[in-house]
């Protein structure tokens, strides 16, 4: 494609080659990701600007939302506490729950389905784990208890997936029923043992301590730096070598400068996060280092990104979300892919709510599983996952989770009461879905684009 360079800036140059009578040029410009056609950084920037003008906003809304949250809450929070190291680490911890739940919901959303049950299904799994590690009763070792909790959630999800695919009941209904059933089972599990419905993680058992440390444990600052360096260098090298190999073999690849900027961005974010976490955030004594929860979230992000973007299974999930009929004709077993996706969704929700149990230092009937589903959907959609299926990434859940976590954290700092938190979160969800809906309508064929 020799004429690709000059076609990158379509705003001025009409498509001279192959006059496509059925395609609107501005739609093409909006839908072709700039990194596919740009040969230099300048072209990339211009193509990106053209995309934004055409209504394909990409990650801009989520960046804008983050900036707005930071500015607003930094100004209005008492003593400008919002950007203090202590609060930012706190923010990461709170956001971690939303991030993992949003990644869970992503499996259902990419398929074009929805799972309303993940809050309580995850809570049920977490309650099982918290009950099993209690030294007074079962006193299971923590790996077994965690596995049992996650298995409980996964089986629940697989049953829901089976009902959705085999009996063809809409996922909305099945998971709404699942929400109530999981809520009931969750409350029932809480009542087991001598804890009056409040099994907690306080005590002198190593197993309790590990679950507690999921959220509250910190990695030694020096180890934090070394691990970060290893991860960033490894990831950077992987991205660079892969892009370079594709460039050399004449395959579609971004320009070198863009690859380097991408790697640089990852490094900057990593260094900033570690700097914040390694600041002493205790009022008295020392409390520093990267919380365990950050590598946990990154591990979930990494594994699910590889699964969705680099394996056959992941490709089928996107294909089903984009066009189930095409997937069926390609010989894909839709029932199995869908059922497994609901299982993975619940499994991930189990991880998310286990983190939440750790954050709360136990489980109680105060857990708002229903509210957390909505936060998860909001986070995924704010991050860029489409409610209409076929489009979304685990990374979107992480970015959106940070936004929701920021709102949640900021409103708490300002001292707004619960009713306002509900209203603001509802408005944010509405706003995100509106953006999603508009960008879908704006695209040429009314179809979803970027995977």
């Amino acid at each position: 494609m020799a004429d690709v360079p000059k076609r990158a800036d379509l705003a001025e140059v009409p498509p001279e080659q192959a006059p496509d009578l059925t395609a609107a040029p501005e739609a093409i410009q909006a839908e072709v990701p700039p990194e596919l056609v740009a040969q230099t950084l300048g072209e990339y920037v211009r193509a990106y600007a053209a995309r934004i003008r055409a209504g394909e906003s990409g990650v801009l809304p989520v960046i804008a939302a983050m900036l707005a949250i930071v500015i607003v809450f930094e100004v209005v929070s008492p003593n400008h506490l919002f950007l203090s190291a202590g609060n930012l680490v706190n923010l990461f911890q709170q956001s971690a729950v939303f991030m993992v739940l949003a990644m869970a919901e992503g499996f259902a959303l990419i398929l074009g389905e929805i799972d309303l049950s993940i809050g309580f299904v995850g809570a049920l799994g977490a309650a099982v784990t918290v009950q099993l590690v209690q030294p007074q009763t079962t006193n299971w070792p923590w790996p077994a208890a965690v596995a049992a909790g996650l298995l409980t959630a996964t089986v629940f999800g697989l049953i829901q997936g089976t009902l959705i695919t085999r009996l063809r009941i809409p996922s909305f209904i099945v998971t709404l029923a699942g929400y109530l059933i999981a809520n009931g089972l969750f409350l029932q599990v809480l009542l087991l043992g001598p804890f009056s419905g409040y099994p907690n993680l306080a005590g002198f058992s190593d197993n309790l301590k590990v679950i507690y440390n999921l959220m509250w444990g910190s990695i030694d600052p020096t180890v934090s730096w070394i691990a970060t360096a290893v991860v960033v260098l490894g990831l950077g090298l992987l991205i660079y070598l892969s892009d370079n190999r594709r460039r050399r073999s004449g395959l579609v690849a971004p320009p070198t400068s863009l690859t380097l900027i991408k790697i640089g961005l990852i490094a900057v974010v990593a260094v900033v996060v570690v700097l914040i976490c390694n600041t002493n955030r205790a009022n008295i004594g020392t409390l520093e280092g990267v919380p365990w929860v950050i590598p946990i979230v990154l591990a979930v992000l990494g594994v699910w990104t590889v699964l969705l973007q680099r394996t056959r299974y992941g490709r089928y999930v996107y294909a089903i979300g984009g066009n189930p009929e095409a997937a069926r004709r390609a010989g894909i077993n839709l029932s199995i892919v869908r059922t497994v996706a609901f299982g993975l969704c619940s499994f991930t929700a189990g991880i998310g709510m286990l983190l939440y149990a750790s954050l709360l230092n136990g489980m109680s009937n105060n857990v708002q599983g229903g509210q957390y589903v909505l936060y998860a959907v909001a986070a995924a959609v704010i991050g860029g996952t489409s409610l209409f299926g076929g489009r979304g990434k685990p990374l979107h859940g992480v970015l959106g989770g940070l936004v929701i976590g920021g709102i949640y954290n900021g409103m708490f700092l300002v001292g707004l009461s619960f009713q306002w938190e509900y209203i603001v979160t509802g408005l944010v969800l509405l706003g995100a879905v509106t953006i999603d809906s508009l960008s879908r309508r704006g695209s040429a064929s009314g179809s979803v684009t970027r995977v």
């Binding site: 494609m1 009578l21 093409i28 072709v32 596919l36 056609v37 984009g322 390609a330 010989g331 064929s445």
Partner: protein, 265 residues
């Protein structure tokens, strides 16, 4: 390649023979005693009014429906095509009217959908992209800006080209196309018709289902006409004119004394 010489080149045995095929849905008889030949290296146009049974016949060949009676011969051997997978194993690929492409996936991902190549259990994107690029280049599909752009951003003709390229990638011997030019403009139609000719020149058997007689006479070597569930006539394109095809399509050729009827009703 003239139609007459192609007949000799393609030997006596057509690639696919359908003999005495019947299909009914409950009390509705959709296909009666269908006889149809699809020779290699030739484009066979299947014409007929709505409800004539073109789609049902296509789906019987593609393995989506099971015929009630009758026999299908592939390269002279009797075969049972029980599923779409059986058809693709034989080398039969169908390009459907609604294209069966996933809008959110890019061209490479769509072309390999369901048959992804793996390396160390992960998708081998480089390998697939190279193969897709070669196939598109060999079919001279060169108007796409990037092989990695989502199918949603393609024009109708480009989408049709990708669907065809997807079909020929798998060493297919017979490509069935359902209304390939139905939704296309003039330039796009020409692009797709040229592509069909290139498939024929490669020695593939092509069956095109079409209402558009301009396209049929432009591209077909042979024409078969269906009327109310029967193939009422099939012959070289040269033995038809537009008038006679329309007559066969609308009346089944009942009023005609001439023409070579393969079925008596």
């Amino acid at each position: 390649m003239s139609a007459a010489s192609a007949e000799h080149v393609a030997s006596n045995e057509p690639l696919l023979k359908v003999r005495e095929l019947d299909k009914h849905f409950g009390p509705v008889q959709a296909l009666y005693h269908i006889n149809l030949d699809l020779p290699s290296g030739q484009v066979t146009a299947l014409c007929g009014d709505n409800g004539a049974g073109k789609s049902v016949l296509t789906k019987c060949i593609a393995g989506i429906y099971q015929p009630d009676h009758g026999q299908v011969f592939w390269e002279g051997q009797p075969v049972h095509i029980r599923a779409a997978r059986d058809a693709s194993r034989l080398g039969i690929e169908t390009v459907y009217q609604d294209l069966a492409l996933a809008d959110n996936l890019d061209i490479v991902q769509n072309m390999f959908l369901g048959r992804e190549r793996l390396r160390n259990r992960l998708l081998d994107e480089d390998n697939m992209e190279r193969a897709a690029k070669e196939t598109l280049a060999s079919l001279r599909v060169t108007t796409v800006r990037s092989i990695r752009q989502p199918v949603a951003s393609l024009s109708g003709g480009q989408r049709q080209s990708v669907a065809v390229a997807k079909a020929v990638m798998w060493n297919s011997k017979l490509v069935i196309m359902d209304e390939p030019t139905a939704a296309l403009g003039v330039v796009q139609t020409k692009m797709v018709l040229d592509l069909i000719k290139r498939l024929r020149d490669r020695g593939l058997a092509v069956m095109v289902i079409s209402h558009n007689l301009n396209d049929v006479f432009e591209v077909a070597d042979r024409i078969a006409v269906m009327y109310l569930g029967r193939v009422v006539v099939q012959d070289q394109t040269s033995s038809f004119d537009r008038q006679s095809v329309v007559e066969y399509m609308t009346t089944g050729g009942l009023g005609r004394s001439g023409g070579r009827r393969t079925q008596e009703s």
